[in-house]
């Protein structure tokens, strides 16, 4: 399908400099330069460190993506970039670079929403997005349930976290357990050796009067910290694997329970998962189990496409081109608090 648009996507909303190249819904390149190791000793992402790393990585990562895709700069039909939400200074490096490439190549620019991109990326693996679908978006910065009638123009938030994002809870609990940063992958590994029913941690916002599709993970994190500190004060050994497994189970139980309910209440048959936390092995397993039981089709990309990357941005940009959406102007800002309801920044 050589007539499908060849789109270069740029992602710099957090600590990954991601450059992706897609043709329509076909992934050609997914180059990522991560500054995560530079942040590890700070226990979290330092915005200025991330921004400096994006600037250094930009051109080399674009070059790597072009080489991987086997295309030249002049083959590119459109440039897509994450214009928000994310870290303001980090986003701005990507947006300015995208404008530079768009001006130099005289090609249209699409400033797209990071969260919508996380939903759209599965097109590259499992084909066209079923619409409407439900999307569970879980990462270090976001935890949302979205009803998606049209990924390029109509995304409706049903609920989101009222305090910490799910990924943030993994980072904080990893810190409590002395497991380092980032917390997601390391807790996942420990949890595989633990008993997930060993400790019953609270399931936030699951009472009958709670908002059905909002999340809360702050109380859970505090509860884990109290439990661990009590053992430490008593001079007991902390059963790290059991704590990790039980904490993880509390998170993924609430996420999947609410996602299934959202599908049922809205009569939607497809659940998409995206964002870094959807790389978690237990979340993927439990979501599959519960979707199967409920007759819902689960779609989740491979873990490498769940975390931040440029391919997801290119995927959404290509969809904008395919649906004849007008490009963004060269005046679009980097919008750190871009609402999820806005799939594309127009001007």
């Amino acid at each position: 399908m050589a007539d499908e648009p060849l789109v270069l996507g740029i992602e710099t909303s957090c600590d990954e400099t991601g450059i992706g190249i897609v043709r329509g819904t076909t992934l050609l390149a997914d180059a990522v330069a991560s500054s995560v190791d530079e942040h590890a000793r700070f226990g979290g992402v330092v915005p200025e460190v991330a921004s400096r790393a994006h600037l250094e990585a930009m051109v080399p990562t674009v070059r790597r993506a072009l080489a991987d895709a086997g295309v030249t700069m002049h083959d590119i039909d459109a440039i897509a970039v994450t214009s928000g939400p994310g870290l303001a200074g980090a986003l701005l490096v990507g947006v300015a670079a995208a404008k530079g490439y768009a001006v130099a190549l005289d090609k249209p620019l699409y400033g797209v929403n990071h969260l919508a991109s996380h939903v759209c990326v599965d097109q590259l693996e499992h084909g066209k997005l079923p619409e409407p679908c439900m999307a569970l978006l879980v990462s270090g910065g976001h935890s949302s349930l979205l009803l998606v009638p049209d990924i390029t123009a109509d995304v409706r938030p049903l609920g989101s976290t009222i305090d910490d994002a799910a990924g943030e809870a993994f980072d904080k609990v990893a810190r409590v357990l002395g497991l380092g940063f980032p917390g997601g992958p390391v807790i996942d590994r420990w949890a595989r050796e633990g008993d997930r029913s060993a400790i019953v941690f609270p399931r936030g916002l699951t009472g009958p009067r709670d908002a059905p599709f909002d999340f809360s993970f702050s109380g859970l994190k505090t509860s884990v910290a109290r439990w661990v500190e009590a053992r430490q004060r008593a001079g007991e050994t902390v059963p790290v694997a059991d704590v990790a497994a039980s904490f993880q189970e509390a998170v993924v139980d609430v996420l999947t329970r609410k996602a299934i309910r959202a599908c049922k209440e809205n009569g939607v048959e497809h659940l998409m998962m995206g964002g870094g936390v959807s790389a978690n092995s237990r979340l993927r397993a439990l979501a599959q189990e519960r979707c199967d039981a409920a007759g819902i089709v689960l779609r989740v990309p491979r873990p490498g496409l769940c975390t931040d990357n440029g391919a997801m941005v290119a995927a959404l940009g290509a969809e904008m081109v395919a649906r004849d959406r007008a490009p963004s102007t060269l005046s679009i800002p980097a919008d750190s608090s871009m609402p999820v309801t806005v799939s594309q920044a127009l001007s």
């Binding site: 404008k99 590994r189 060269l330």
Partner: protein, 227 residues
């Protein structure tokens, strides 16, 4: 030669096009918070005003600061992207040198002087120049009041001098660098030799970040070895 020059290291978002005989078109807008929104349209406008196309560009010159980081990076990454896509070299110019060049061009200084821009946090980015306009000290970042008396006593140009007028005795225009001066400076160096800088930011400060203390490691080592 057709050189596109711009700078976003101060509140002035400034773009100029120079063909080695003179400036063909230029544009400057002052807005400290909108570098990312104003620069690319400014580039398109300047090319259009001069009746030239992006494909004709032979060189790009960009102000590499020092300046507030977020705005500074807009100019540099834009220059790197343009240079990469067009296959033309990207040259760095110290933003204070562009400011100094503008001051001498405008005749506001003749002898030795200092150029200073706002570094926020009660500090200035500054450099000292001799009577021939050559930078002899800096760039550096300091509190204006802590600069040596012999520096503070010189005629001082730039918004950093105007902001701390009680520390700098003899404050003069211009307030901001402009890309016309940056372009002329770059062309002089490219034609006459003398060299330019790499297109890398002159941050002068390390990132603000504290390594947290007080983590209690309860379990050294573990599955996968990441701990």
């Amino acid at each position: 030669m057709l050189l596109l020059a711009f700078d976003t290291a101060t509140p002035a978002v400034t773009v100029a096009l120079h063909d080695d005989s003179g400036v063909l078109a230029d544009s400057t807008r002052v807005d400290a918070r909108r570098q990312g929104e104003l620069l690319a349209p400014g580039i398109v406008d300047v090319l259009r005003a001069a009746g030239r196309t992006r494909a004709e560009l032979t060189d790009i010159a960009v102000g590499v600061g020092p300046g507030p980081y977020t705005g500074l990076r807009v100019g540099i990454v834009t220059a790197l992207a343009l240079g990469d896509a067009l296959g033309v070299p990207v040259h760095g110019v110290c933003t204070l040198d562009a400011l100094a060049y503008a001051a001498r061009r405008d005749g506001t200084v003749t002898g030795p002087f200092v150029a200073a821009t706002d570094a926020r946090r009660k500090e200035v980015y500054w450099a000292r120049y001799d009577e021939a306009g050559a930078r002899v000290e800096g760039p550096a970042v300091d509190r204006a009041g802590e600069l040596a008396e012999e520096v503070r006593g010189l005629p001082a140009v730039g918004a950093g001098a105007a902001l701390y007028a009680s520390e700098f005795g003899d404050v003069r225009l211009p307030e901001h660098p402009d890309a016309a001066a940056l372009a002329a400076f770059a062309v002089e160096r490219l034609v006459g030799g003398g060299g330019l800088l790499a297109a890398e930011p002159l941050y002068l400060r390390r990132p603000d970040a504290q390594v947290p203390v007080g983590y209690k490691v309860v379990t050294p080592g573990g599955p996968g070895g990441r701990a």
